[in-house]
Structures are given as structure tokens and as C-alpha cells.
Symmetry: C3
Subunit: 475 residues, 3 copies
């Protein structure tokens, strides 16, 4: 059943990939200019000004909040399976550590200067956000892949992610500060497409015996949920400044609160025994953060933020309750272990639709001078003879968009993103299912033992040694 030979080759290959990354970093990256020491001949005034701006690294707390979301939040959220906690917390770390390096390279391709990717804190923030897309996809497949398959998926996904992100944000100038389009929708539908290719045969399409939680694993998963819930305002506001940032924080905070209350109410109402379901609490409470992502810096007002959260909570719980089982048991046989369609997919579609609506209504009366900061392509076309710097930038469709046109672009963005994610995911799935890649056997699903040394003797000791010690201290 287990083929150590192929594993050795796999782990050797992983080591080779890491060494290749070291080399690529050597040739193609360096610190950004601001981080290189100033030599004496530089303009003193500029240097001191730069230093003052640099000194406090105002985005660093935001970065660390996101860092907690990626490496604690996603990791522990996925520990809900009763016997997959080593993989959830460990492979989240492994996949994350590999893809942040790869994301720095792939995303850097679009911002090279003199043949080098200039690194600063911004690249780390961008890499962490890119890793989120891969970890969302991992959620769709949780327990049904080998570690190698996850890593291969991460490599493909990041390359496609970086291209799509560049397309949407730089070329199409779409508003998506919280990444609902480029991260959540992309990651969810990429993962679901991979899951579709790797779907089990008809006779194996039922949930396996290990595909459930235990009492303690459900509580451990809440560590992930709550840290994601807490720091989501940082995720949505990391890429904006000033009043935009503060609005993004307030709106995300409110949307999450609205989604949470709604999740509990709907969860109890739709369950058989009118009880709360931990799956909903662990996931749908977060749907408010996704649903407000693309619009959190817009003038949606506190009312709009709460409303979006409430709607997201309803959609997400209903998705877990009815859609996910239907997708699995129907002809589609589409597994979605963590229900990423309900937490990330559908709320992201909702966010994109709302972003189109709000964009199409955006006026300079409402937004003042920040209109063209938020929607750069709505800036008037600059007369090139006047030499405006923006004229040199290429934007699909050109500058000078009307509000309605910007709204149309927002819809185009989500359509293209979902399309690219599905095509990319189907292709990646085929690679992962190719005969040269080891697949999990049916009895290896959703459990750590296949790839982890588990404390079997220790676990035996827990029942044979530790408990008796306790017992003897009772008697």
C-alpha cells in the first residue's frame, strides 16, 4: 500500500525545489532601494524624509495580523477533523512556507526593476494574501490529497493567481481591496475544480468514517475561526490608507458581527433538532468578512456593511445545510471538505455583485477627491501632450470610465476570475491525478497516520498508562 520509494523521490524533489528557490532569489531579488544603505552622496533631505516615513513601518501590525490569519487561522480552522490535526496544522505551515516564497517570485514578475524584484514589507503582505488563496483551495480538498499533491497544486495555483491578480488589479483597475474577487473567489473555485477532477468513483462518494469532527477537535478549530474573525478587518484594510482604511475596518467589523448573529439564528432554525451546528459557527460567521471584501472601503455606510453581513450569513448557512450535501450526493459527486464554496465562494460572488452596484452609483459628490483613488480608471483621460504620468500606464479599456462602465468591469472581473480559476483548477487536477503522482487510497482519507508518525505507543500509553495512573490516584 505504502510506497516509500516514491515518497523519497517526492521529498527529495521538495528539497530540490527549495534549493532552486534559493538560487532564483539570489539572481532575481534584492531589497527595495529604500532598504539599501544610503551612501554619503545622496540627498540628505530626501534620506531623512525617507527615514522618517520608514521609521515606524505603519503597515507592520496589519501584516502581523494577516500572518496570524494565514498560519494560525487557516491552520486551526482545518483541525476540525477528528484525526487530521497534524496535517491541518502542519501541512498548512508547509504549504504556506513554500508558496509565500513562490508568490514573492511570481507576483514579483510584474514589478521587476532592472531585472530584480525589489523586496519590502509590501511583498510579504502580498505573499501572505496569495497564500490565502492556496489554503482556501486546500480546504476544499482537505484530507483527500497527499502532501505532495498539495504542494504541486500550490505551485500551479500561485502562478495562475499572480497572473489573474495582475490582470484584475493592474490592467483592469478593478476595486477589490479585501480580495474577495482575486483571493476568495479564485481560491474557492480553483479548489473546487481540482476537487471535481479528483472526485471519487460512484461507490466511494459517501463521506468516509474519518470525515467528521470530535468534541475536542471542534474546539480546537474554534481557535482558527476566532482568530480569523478577529483579524479580518486587518486583512480587508491592509492595502488602503487613511480614511479608506478606517472605513474598511469599521465595515468589516460590522459585517462580521451581522453575519455571526445571523449564522447562529439560521443554523438553529434549519437544523433538525433546532440546535446550533459547529460547522456553521466555525465557518459562516466568517462569511461576513468575505462578502464585504470588495466593497469595504466604499461608501456603503454602517447600514450597508451590516446588511451585507446578514445576507452572507444566511447564504452561507443555507449552503452548508443544503447545497454542499447536494453537490456531493448528486451526479456531480463534488466534495468540499471545509465547505469553501459556502465560506469563500458564494460570499465572494455576493461581494463582487455588490461592488458592481456600488461602483455604478459612485459619483464625485459622494466620494470627493478619493473617487479616482478608489476607482483609478475613472480618472479623466490625460492629454498626452500635457505629459501626465498616468498616460503612460496601460489600462484595459482606457481611462475616463463612467461609473456604469466601472460597474461592468467589476462584473467582468468576477466572471474572468471564476473562469480562470476553474480552468486552472481543472488543469491542475489532471496533473494531480496523473499516474506519476501518488494518490491516496480509500482507507487513507482524512487521517494523519499515512504521512505522520503519530504517538501510537504514547496514545496507547494514554489509555494504558496515564489513565490508570489517574485511576489509581482515585482509588
Amino acid at each position: 500500500m505504502h510506497t516509500p520509494g516514491s515518497s523519497v523521490a517526492g521529498y527529495g524533489l521538495l528539497l530540490v525545489v527549495q534549493i532552486v528557490f534559493v538560487i532564483v532569489f539570489g539572481f532575481f531579488t534584492d531589497y527595495s532601494k529604500e532598504l539599501l544603505p544610503k551612501n554619503g552622496t545622496s540627498n540628505g533631505l530626501e534620506a531623512s524624509h525617507g527615514a522618517a516615513e520608514e521609521k515606524y513601518l505603519p503597515k507592520y501590525p496589519h501584516f502581523q495580523d494577516i500572518h496570524v490569519m494565514i498560519f494560525i487561522g487557516f491552520a486551526f480552522l482545518m483541525t476540525f477533523l477528528k484525526r487530521y490535526g497534524f496535517s491541518a496544522s502542519g501541512l498548512n505551515l508547509l504549504v504556506g512556507a513554500l508558496v509565500i516564497q513562490w508568490a514573492i517570485i511570481m507576483r514579483g514578475c510584474y514589478e521587476m526593476e532592472d531585472g530584480r524584484i525589489p523586496l519590502s514589507l509590501d511583498n510579504l503582505i502580498g505573499a501572505d494574501i496569495a497564500a490565502a488563496a492556496v489554503l482556501i483551495s486546500m480546504g476544499a480538498l482537505l484530507g483527500r490529497t497527499t502532501p505532495m499533491q498539495l504542494l504541486i497544486m500550490g505551485i500551479f495555483e500561485i502562478a495562475i493567481f499572480a497572473a489573474n491578480e495582475f490582470l484584475q488589479l493592474d490592467l483592469m483597475k478593478v476595486a477589490d481591496v479585501g480580495g474577495s474577487i482575486t483571493v476568495h473567489a479564485f481560491g474557492a473555485y480553483f479548489g473546487l475544480a481540482v476537487s471535481f477532477v479528483m472526485r471519487p468513483s460512484k461507490e466511494n462518494a459517501k463521506a468516509g468514517p474519518m470525515e467528521g469532527s470530535s468534541y475536542s477537535s471542534d474546539i480546537t478549530a474554534m481557535i482558527g475561526t476566532i482568530f480569523l474573525w478577529i483579524f479580518w478587518p486587518s486583512f480587508n484594510s491592509a492595502l488602503v490608507d487613511g480614511a479608506d482604511q478606517e472605513r474598511a475596518i469599521i465595515n468589516t467589523y460590522l459585517s462580521l458581527a451581522g453575519a455571526t448573529v445571523t449564522t447562529f439564528a439560521i443554523s438553529a432554525l434549519v437544523s433538525h433538532e433546532k440546535k446550533f451546528d459547529m460547522v456553521h459557527v466555525q465557518n459562516s460567521t466568517l462569511a461576513g468578512g468575505v462578502a464585504v471584501g470588495s466593497i469595504c472601503n466604499l461608501m456603503i455606510h454602517p447600514f450597508g456593511a451590516l446588511l451585507v453581513g446578514v445576507i452572507a450569513g444566511v447564504i452561507s448557512v443555507l449552503g452548508y445545510r443544503f447545497l454542499t450535501p447536494a453537490m456531493l450526493s448528486g451526479g456531480l459527486r463534488l466534495s468540499d471538505t471545509c465547505g469553501v464554496n459556502n465560506l469563500h465562494g458564494m460570499p465572494a460572488l455576493l461581494s463582487a455583485i455588490f461592488s458592481a452596484i456600488y461602483a455604478s452609483m459612485a459619483t464625485s459628490e459622494t466620494y470627493g477627491s478619493s473617487l479616482t483613488t478608489i476607482f483609478p480608471a475613472m480618472a479623466p483621460v490625460v492629454n498626452t501632450t500635457m505629459g501626465g504620468h498616468e498616460s503612460e500606464e496601460f489600462v484595459i479599456g482606457g481611462f475616463g470610465r463612467t461609473a456604469a462602465k466601472q460597474g461592468a468591469y467589476q462584473l467582468l472581473a468576477i466572471l474572468l476570475t471564476v473562469l480562470i480559476a476553474i480552468v486552472g483548477g481543472l488543469f491542475t487536477g489532471l496533473v494531480l491525478k496523473s499516474p506519476s503522482v501518488r494518490q491516496l487510497e480509500k482507507d487513507e482519507l482524512h487521517k494523519d497516520e499515512t504521512y505522520w508518525e503519530t504517538p501510537s505507543e504514547a496514545s496507547g500509553a494514554t489509555t494504558n498508562t496515564a489513565i490508570p495512573t489517574v485511576a489509581s490516584s482515585i482509588s
Copy 2:
């Protein structure tokens, strides 16, 4: 035993409340003026100045630290019960999410501008702090209420909390930067008053079989304890700036350290077997943060901070060891599941007394120009003909207080707060005990199963499927 009908009504009502909140937010809230886009006609200089000040959101890291305390700290601290972890972590999230919305509205009533509550990051900080009071009360009742009762309590409590906070801080100008008076004392005695009304009949007054911890739940609870311990300096210093803030941080850090060492020593000394007691470690180590709350920005010096922490540790451990059992078994039959009287109540009284002492000794020699920032009512009475802006502000007793008078006001503040909390709690308890509200049966206490879908089959699988798998890998 279980009445699904009433539950459906309850959860439907919860949904209605959430929708009402959306509507109220629509009519009565908006972003604060600084967060609304500037239009072109605004003063450019002012705008750029405002932008510079806004740009870095210096309080945001403090806010996120508090956010972790409220939603991770309180949640996991309450997971110490062996079979109440879903409720502790989940209902903490639900209650928190509901009351932060309600707190924004209720607290906002006292700061409306043009019929609207202007929202900024400050309101989120204030809402999180208000939620702390409710979660403290929840600790007193842990395991003995339905989710609906908790939510109803939260609605009543926040309304009274906001009024009392306005009374103490705005009208009476009491010094309480760490909220020991307005948050900890209020939350603890409100919760205990509710608990008193809901006390069991004489024959049921003993601790039930589920009212204890398990080995793993005690470790999970330490996640809550330690995060609260770590971020308490942020809680106490969030509302002050500059040197005041740094003193608040240093004093809270030292007080917590002193309380922690003391807690371990006293815990072992007063226990039967001279061993450490996890209840004390999980709770009394934090008493130093409460006890220093009202005085943490005063000139108490490192010596005073440590001393307050040491005293708080002694009081808190002795409270857990002797007072809590006495309150339960005596004629009072007063349950306090988490011992909030020992962690929040008595240390807060201590803090208030110290604040009176320090206030009564405050001189402008010691405090310099910050005397009237810390104790605003000690500012000299402004001649109204001179047109000072402070003259328009209403302060109970007027400006120009002496130090002794300020000390007296500090004592009055804690007395009034405890009184208001107890009366409010008694009233709320009567509502929660009214026949129209579902009560827990005796065998439903302190366990998740009544309101949560628990992985019973999965739990069965853990013993029937998972362990044998492990066992077979041994043999």
C-alpha cells in the same frame, strides 16, 4: 423536556433583532466626518493635516489586542468546563457579536451629532470594552442559562452599562482608564445579581456533576488566560496617550507579574495538598490587571504597581478558596461559575479604593500640566465671561474640585456603579426567570448537548474506529 417550538420562536426573534439593528444603523449611524470623503472646496491644509493624523491609525494595534482579549481571551478562559466548550467559545462569539452592535447604538446615544452617531475606530474600541462587561456577567452564570437568556441579559446590561459609563466618566469626571469601575465592577456585580435571582432551590444548590474541568479543558482554558494576561496592558492603556499610555502599560505589566507570582505561592499554601490549583492560575493571575485598572496612568510608580498586583493576587486566591464556596453553600446559595467576584469584583473594588487614595493626594507638583488631563474636574472654574469652552460642559459638582473632593468622587463612583449594577442585575434576573422565558432543567446544566449538535457518532467513532486503527498499527 426540550421544547422546539419556543426555540424556533427564540431564534426567529434573534433574527428579527438583528434586522432591527440593521435598520437602526441605517437611520442613526454614519461614518464620522473625518472618514467622509473631502470635497474639493475643503480647506486643503486642514485636509492634509487630517490625513497625516489619520494615516497611521495609531490606536489600531491597541484595538486588535483588545479584540483578541474579548473574543479569544474570554471565550477560551470559559472553556475550562469539561463539557461546555462549544458554548463557551461559541456563545461568547454570539453574545459578543450581538452586544457590540447594541453597544455602538447605546453608547452612541450620548455622543450623537445631528441625529446621527458618528462612527470611527473609537466606537469599535468602546463597543469591545462594553462587551467585556457582558462577558464578565456571563462568566458568573456560565452553564446555567440558555443562549436566549444570555442574549436578553446582554441587551439589558448594555443599556444600563452605557448609561452608567456616561454618568461616571462624562458627568462625574471619574478617573478610570482601565475600566475597573465601569467595566469590571459593573460586569461582576451585575452578573452576580442575575445569578442571585436565578439561584437554584435549596436541594439543588450543590455543584452538579458537569461543573468541573477535565485535563484537556483546563489546558484549553489557559489559552484564554494567557492571551488576557498578555494584552491586558493594551486594555488599560487604550484610552490614553503619550506618557500616560506608557505608564499605564508599565504599571499593568508589573501588576500582572506581581499578581502571578503571588497567585502561585498562595494557591499552593492554602490548598490541602500544597499543590497549585488551576482555577487560581487561570483567574487570579489576571487580578493584577483589574486591580491596577483605575490607577494605571497615575503616578503610582513601579513600586505601587507591583504592590497592588501582589495584594490583588492574595485577595483573589483567598476568594476562590474560601469566599466562593461559602457564598454557594451558605443561605445565599449564590453561584459564581467562573468566580468573577474574585477575578473582577473584589480587585475592582480594590482599584477604586486605591484610585480614591491616589486622587486625594494628587498635586500639580506631582502631575504637572497633566493633572487636569487626568482629573478634568480639578481644572479651575473658567470665568464664563471669558468664554472658555469648558464652561459649557456640565459636570456634576462643577469644576474646580480639590484633590480630596476628587478622591470622594472616586469612591462615590464605585458605590453608585455597584448599586446600579446590582439593581439592574436583579431586574434583569427577574426578566430571565419570568415564565415566558425558557429555563434550563437541572440535568441540562453545564453541558453543550442541550443546545449544540455534538459529534456523538464521531465521538463514538473516536473510540470505535480511530483508536482501533491506532491499536492495529501497534500490533
Copy 3:
């Protein structure tokens, strides 16, 4: 077996020590001058400037990140033992709370002003970093000491740590911003020296029945690992500013990522069954943070950072796999419960060697004007008749070092540190093993029951009461 009398004396002594600390703080500490209120006669301009600089406390987020590492990271990393979680999380808090107070005093001895230690946020950061050294040593001894022995060790270790830190950083002007030399190497070899003195007799040298993990304790330990992993960039960059700080963040981030991927690959390759080993994942993934510590602000470039991480991962996993068992089973009988030699010791040696290499190649072309900020002793000797302020500072070997000489000093620093740590550790070990100090019996190793009230009945209830409740709800 258990001698309550000696325990009472011990805990009484602990209380006395805490009270002595309060008194020492009263006589010898105060807030730093910036935190004392300004009186009216002060220079208004200076005051407002100071206030502006103070207002935002830019290091506070860094401090809180480190605070999480010390009190959550180390605590939960050490919960991996199956029946030592109360001690790991609780004693980490106790030892930490005691030694941060003591570190403020001991480190303050070298920076007194007018007979007082001036306290600011910097002292708290320094105290937390000093506590890390003690907690690393605790890791070497985990499960094999009494709480009292740990506290006595902390008292001795902090005194020696503070002296060595002053020697290396102030007198020898060694570059070590991430503390690999002064914290990690010192803590690891101090702890190993103590462990050597306390080594068991030959017949007891095997790992005991409790010296292993359980499935759930391994997952709990990952909380510690991942929080350490996330915030390590803050640890390494807390003491530097501006571009130096941002480079330290980027380099630490990359080194950790490289070490993590490498750890997984090597872990699987060297294990018997080609599976991942949780011990490696919990620890060696962090070796990249240690190995880059002394060089993280140097011009090592992203390439160098990744490479150092990869090497550290290899060394650390091989250390766990081959060296630790060899040290234990060989004639040395040297226990290292957490493997601190592999996580802290050897990677710190690596970091020191790299720091010597990079220092010896440092030129003003590469470093510009920051050369003498990073390596202060490389500043040219100031003509004393010119009255440069640096001329008054005493530096071993004097100013005006060449790059090669600075490299030699870096090597001297690690040699002296390891020597001082070992001698200090041997001496401390002798004290801990003296007849007047209670030792653990063989059957008391690695378990909480000896010093903690554990929920034995409750644990019984878990199997006897709780599970049947569940079972009955199934049937």
C-alpha cells in the same frame, strides 16, 4: 514521598522573594524622565516634540508580538508532553512573571541614573527577551525539575545573562540584534549545563514512560510553534529601526520559510517510515529564526536569508534525529527534553559564525552611513581634543576596528557566551542538586500530578459520566 513541609517553606520563600522585589522596585526604580509629568517651567517646544515622538509608541506592537512569543509561544510549545501541560503552560507563566521583574532589576544595574533604574517600554522589551533565555533553559530540563528548582535557576540565570548581555553588546559592541548569541546560545547551553549536572544515574538514563506526546498534546504544542513562527520577525527586529528593521523582518520571514520547507523534507527523508515527525515540525521549523538572528539586519540579501534558513533546518532535524539520542544514550547521559540544542543551540552557533563572516566583509560601500550604526566599534577613533561624545564610552579593544577585527569579535562573543553559560549552568546545577533543595523522584518525572491538583475525579467523570451521557443521547 511528598514532603509538604519543604513545599510550604518553598512557597513561603517565593512570597518573600516577591515582597523583596516590591521593596527593591520601591528603592531603585522609577519611570524614565520622559514619562514623568512635565512641569510648567519646561521648554514648551521640547515638551511638544517629545510628546509627538512618544504619542504613538511605535515599538509597542513589536513588544506585544514578543510578549505573545514568550507567554503563549514558549508555553504551548512545551505542552507537547502528554501529561505535563499544566506545568508547561502554568510554570512558563510563573517563571516568566518572576524573571521579568528580576531582569528589570539586573539589566537595570547597567543603566542606572542617579541611583534609579529609569523604566520605559524598552525595559519591558528587554525583560521579555531575557525571560526567553530562561525559558529556553527550562526546555532543556522540562519535566525533570520541581517548580522551585526552575525558579532558583531563573534567579541565577538572569543575573549571569544580564552581565553577559552587557559584556557582549555594550562593552564588546557585538552585532546581535536577534539575540542569537546573547539569548539563544546562552539559554541553550546554560540549560544543558544544568541538565548535565542533574543527569540521572546510569540505570535511569532511559526516557521514562511519560516522556512522550499524545495526539492532542502534539496539536496543542503547534499553537506554540506557530505563534513563535509568526512573530519571530518581530523578535529579531524589535531593537532596530527604519531600513534595518525592515531588512530584519524580511530576512527572518524568508529564513523561517526556508527552514520550514527543509524541515519537512529532511524529517521525512531521515525517518524510518519516511513520515513527518511532529518533533521536527514543532521545533526545527523555527531554527531559521534563530540562525538568522545575529545577521538579520546585515546585507545578507534575500538569497542569504533563505540559505541560512535551509542550512538551519537541515542541522536542526539531523540534530533531533541523531545527536539528541546519542547525547542521552552515550556516556554523557545528557537529557534535553525539548531538544533546545537543535532548536536554539546549534542554529545560534551557525548564526554567530555567519555574523563573523558578514562582519569581516562589511565595507562602507555596502553599508553606507549605517556601517557604524550596525558595528559601532568600527567608527573611527574620535580625537579626544575634538571632544566627540563617543570618546567617553568604554569599548573593549577601542574604536576604529577593521572589518576583520569586528569579525573576530563576533567569534569571541559566541565563545565567551557559551563558556559563561556553561560555567554558570554547571554552578547553578550544583545548587539545584544540593541536599537542601527537593529533587524529583524517578516516578515523578514529566507529569503534572506531583505539583498540580489535577481533575482526577473530573477525568473519571469524563469516562464515567460524560461519555455515557453522550451514549445515552445516541441510544
